[in-house]
Amino acid sequence: MCWLLGLCPVLAVTTSTINSIAISAVFFIVLVMTKLAMAVTRKWTDPGAGITVFLLLIISSTLTATADMGTKTFFPDLHISLGIYLSLIAVNCMIISRPNKRTITDALKTGLGYVVIIVIIGIAREVLGKGTLLGDTILGSGFRASPVSFFILPSGAFLVMAFIIAFINSHHGQRKLQEQNRGKT
């Protein structure tokens, strides 16, 4: 079963592979460090209290602001192409929701899944929409000259996402069918 959490960066900045690698790296670091800080403070805060939400928001927004400044200093081009979506990691649903789950293994698992999906979408959109992979021509110069620029548009992002969800669904559906058959025999 797939959950749809934190979709803004997945769809918005995955127009090229390098962008998606950059945003997923920042996202992964912020996610793991926020979960680490929340795990450390678990003794003093209980998950139902409103103060936990504020603590979570302070930690994640400070970390994201730091990452934003770091990107601006060391990779100014990337900072321009990621735009506001880098700052929006601070309120990403993946980090903000589920404050009860405060283990590092959970953060690593969900974070890695998220990174893999983002990079797959980035590769698919760059290869189909620009005919390049990390800047190199990959499907021939004829395709590069007239690529399917639909995939660079916002609607292309939605379509790629639809196919990825359909792939996951069909995989799970087959497994469920196999389990049912096993139950019958």
């Binding site: 749809l4 918005a12 928001l57 929006l88």
Partner: protein, 198 residues
């Protein structure tokens, strides 16, 4: 004054149709996939979202141009905006629970959804990035909220009718919703250049 009002109208129309909140800027997509939400719920959600967006963008604008910029503390803008919105929403929920129980029952649950929401934060950041003044920020936020309302209503109608369509098994559920969003986004692409707005 008249020129400023005319410009504000252009900003509203541009942010409803051309630079739509959900279909072009991808802000607040998570809200579309609230489990079991129908037309009525979407109406409540989007009106709450609009109210929170307007209030927090006013607060954010005042905080940025009144405090952060004169004191040269621009690097603090992200934590300040996030915390302002969270405090505003929590205070509103608290106030409604004490003073207006009817409104609390109607909107309280949805209000908590926007404690930390990408659309609310994204609108303030975009308004700051584009150097909009106070009137333009209001127009921009109002237009974005109306754009979100429009897309949510159309999306819920599409979802209702997809229920009766023969959808392939793998595409059932979220996947067909994304195909619908893709086609809607393609349709909204036709508005580019509408009234000379890009």
């Amino acid at each position: 004054m008249q020129a400023a009002m005319k410009y504000a109208w252009f900003i509203i129309i541009g942010s409803v149709f051309v630079n739509n909140l959900i279909l072009v800027r991808f802000l607040g997509i998570c809200t579309l996939f609230c489990p079991g939400a129908k037309l009525k719920e979407f109406l409540k959600i989007s009106i709450t979202l609009m109210a929170v967006m307007i209030a927090s963008s006013w607060l954010g604008w005042i905080a940025y141009y009144g405090i952060l910029k004169p004191l040269n503390l621009i690097f603090l803008k992200l934590p300040v905006f996030v915390l302002l919105t969270a405090v505003l929403v929590q205070a509103a929920v608290f106030f409604f629970r004490k003073k207006m129980p009817g409104l609390h029952v109607l909107l309280g649950g949805y209000l908590l959804l926007f404690t930390a929401h990408c659309a609310v934060l994204g609108i303030i950041l975009l308004a700051i990035e584009q150097n909009l003044d106070f009137l333009q920020t209001t127009a921009f936020t109002l237009g974005s909220g109306l754009g979100g309302l429009l897309v949510m209503l159309v999306f819920s109608a599409i979802r209702e009718s997809v229920k009766f369509a023969p959808v392939p098994r793998a595409f059932k559920g979220y996947a067909i919703d994304f195909v619908a969003l893709s086609l809607m986004s393609l349709a909204f692409l036709g508005f580019i250049g509408f009234l000379g707005i890009f």
